[in-house]
């Protein structure tokens, strides 16, 4: 699988931001903001996706690699968790 990056995607207007759904990329819809400044949304995409979006007129800021924000491998067992919750 290609490496992915956490990005902020900036659009020229709210309509262009909505049209991002046409690209079928992994955007986080709840992070969309349009009212206060340049319409923007966060997402997790490959460099190839970045290229496609830039070619379509979007500005893309890379925020972090996917590994930098991944903590799914930090797993607690029940034996560790129960004492931490005050449950012997």
């Amino acid at each position: 699988m290609d490496s992915r990056y956490f990005v902020t995607i900036h659009a020229v207007d709210a309509r262009a931001l909505r049209e991002l759904t046409d690209f079928d990329v992994d955007i986080f819809q709840a992070t969309a903001r349009a009212g206060d400044s340049v319409p923007r949304i966060e997402g997790l995409i490959t460099l190839a996706d970045v290229g496609r979006l830039v070619a379509a007129g979007y500005r893309v800021t890379v925020e972090a690699t996917e590994q930098a924000r991944a903590r799914a491998d930090q797993v607690a067992s029940l034996d560790e968790w129960l004492p931490a919750m005050g449950e012997a």
Partner: protein
């Protein structure tokens, strides 16, 4: 503390069922996950009764949003400990007294479904998996891409395609049909089986939002024909900002969604100052097939279903926050969900049910449904009651004498509520004394102001029946509004 594994979540629920058997009950959901995992919900409650309200909290719908199932299990632990050990639930700067948690558990059924999508979480946490997996693990016929977005698979405008995709490789693939997935059918089963559920929160990440219906389009309160069931508008929905179609929502429910949402927001902010935003879910991107819209819409589709006030909570600022931040978010989630329980409590049933008999409860309900809801002043009082219920529950929970006085007033008032007789002067004086006493316990200026107004309003009932008194109050308020504004004199 790192994130709980799927097995640890199951183990934690089993531990709580063993440790707190009198208040904690495991519910095995009827369908295993796509990969065959048994899924459990739980019910936290003490006592039974046909009139108990229920709330449902679900999490882990999207696999990569790891903190939320941990938050729901943590809430279960804290509620059990508070109930059993008589200890307050301290969440940063927000405290729920043990008495409040005990009131919740004694008078409500709290249902938790901490991990809707165990296959997805297991895959996200597996070294050979994908940390950022969102969907379930369905095998899609004719495609190499797996998974269906469970929060686009509920039966609310599912086939409309609004904010969803028919492409199995998309992160928002809605699936071949509404409820094609066992995981979403389990959520529906909870709502069908526990018909006393009156509120639901689906906990997601991220963006610090408290979202309420609708998600498919903007909301309006004036044209009931513009609704999700009307085929005349098929193909016209899903364009927020236009004037062609906006989803109808009863104004009273718009207000209630906002009021309850604001209470959740304030509870979250009290933990450490984070300001969540309360708004309708449509935002910039309309959606369909979500749990929140489905849960609320059920009572419109089938009037035999109860109305469920449903929200999506978008927690935190990333999917997998580091330990210290995750701990804070868990506190915020616990605060929001406890606040939600308190907001949906029936004050009478939770505080004074033991002291008021069934006939009197029926008289009180009839007065609420037949008289108050049909009067503008009465509606205003019901809204204020909603707003102040959390503070009142806390006040009554902490003061047995106040509780006794409340029950005494309800007993005395019940016969008058169901008649057109003149309100006895003695009852008015009784009510005034109670309101004055309650005012001394009020913590917030808002409650004190409401009680001052109530005390003044009581005088308008003198010599009248309650219905006539409410009419008189309405006239008085209109007259006040019609008075010319007096300019201040020098």
């Amino acid at each position: 503390m790192p994130y709980l594994s799927t097995a640890a979540i199951e183990g934690a629920l089993a531990h709580l069922a063993d440790t707190y058997p009198s208040i904690f009950q495991l519910i095995t959901l009827p369908e295993p996950s796509v990969e065959g995992r048994t899924i459990h919900a739980v019910k936290i409650a003490s006592g039974t009764g046909a009139d108990r309200r229920g709330v449902l909290f679900i999490g882990g719908v999207h696999a990569r949003e790891l903190v939320n199932p941990d938050a729901l299990v943590t809430l279960a632990v804290r509620m059990c400990q508070a109930y059993t050990d008589n200890t307050d639930v301290v969440l940063g700067g927000k405290t729920y007294p043990a008495s409040t948690v005990q009131t919740i558990i004694n008078s409500m059924d709290v249902f938790l479904l901490p991990l809707v999508n165990p296959d997805g979480r297991t895959y996200a946490q597996s070294p050979s998996g994908d940390s950022w997996w969102r969907k379930n693990r369905s095998v899609n016929a004719g495609s190499a891409c797996r998974g269906i977005d469970l929060n686009r698979n509920f039966d609310f405008l599912h086939s409309s395609g609004i904010g969803t995709s028919a492409n199995p490789c998309s992160e928002v693939f809605r699936g071949p049909a509404a409820f094609s997935e066992p995981e979403t059918r389990n959520v529906r089963w909870m709502l069908d089986t526990f018909s006393n559920i009156r509120g639901m929160i689906d906990v997601h990440s991220y963006s610090e939002l408290i979202l309420h219906p609708w998600g498919d389009d903007d909301t309006q309160t004036t044209d009931p024909t513009q609704n999700f069931r009307n085929p005349a508008f098929d193909g016209l929905r899903g364009n927020p900002g236009d004037t062609v179609y906006r989803e109808y929502l009863v104004e009273a429910d718009v207000n209630r969604f906002r009021n309850i949402g604001n209470g959740l927001r304030d509870a979250v902010a009290a933990v450490r100052g984070r300001q969540y935003t309360v708004e309708a879910a449509v935002l910039l991107y309309p959606t369909s097939g979500t749990s929140k819209d489905f849960s609320y819409a059920r009572h419109i589709v089938n009037t035999g279903h109860a109305k469920v006030f449903s929200y999506t909570l978008e927690t935190g600022r990333e999917f997998q926050p580091p330990d210290a931040e995750a701990a804070q978010i868990i506190n915020e989630v616990c605060a929001a969900l406890l606040q939600f329980c308190v907001s949906l409590l029936c004050l009478v049933e939770s505080v004074a049910a033991d002291a008021v008999d069934v006939v009197q409860l029926d008289q009180l309900r009839a007065f609420r449904d037949d008289v108050l809801t049909r009067s503008p002043v009465g509606q205003q009082y019901l809204v204020q009651l909603d707003q102040h219920t959390p503070e009142l529950v806390e006040a009554f929970g902490a003061d047995a004498e106040l509780r006794k006085a409340f029950a005494g007033l309800l007993r005395a008032a019940a016969p008058v509520l169901s008649s057109d007789d003149t309100v006895p002067e003695e009852l008015l004086r009784h009510a005034e004394r109670f309101v004055a006493t309650l005012g001394r316990s009020a913590r917030t200026p808002a409650l004190r102001a409401t009680l001052r107004e109530a005390r003044s309003d009581l005088r308008h009932l003198a010599g009248r029946s309650l219905r006539d008194g409410l009419d008189e109050l309405e006239r008085t308020r209109h007259a006040r509004l019609d008075e010319p504004v007096r300019e201040p004199t020098a």
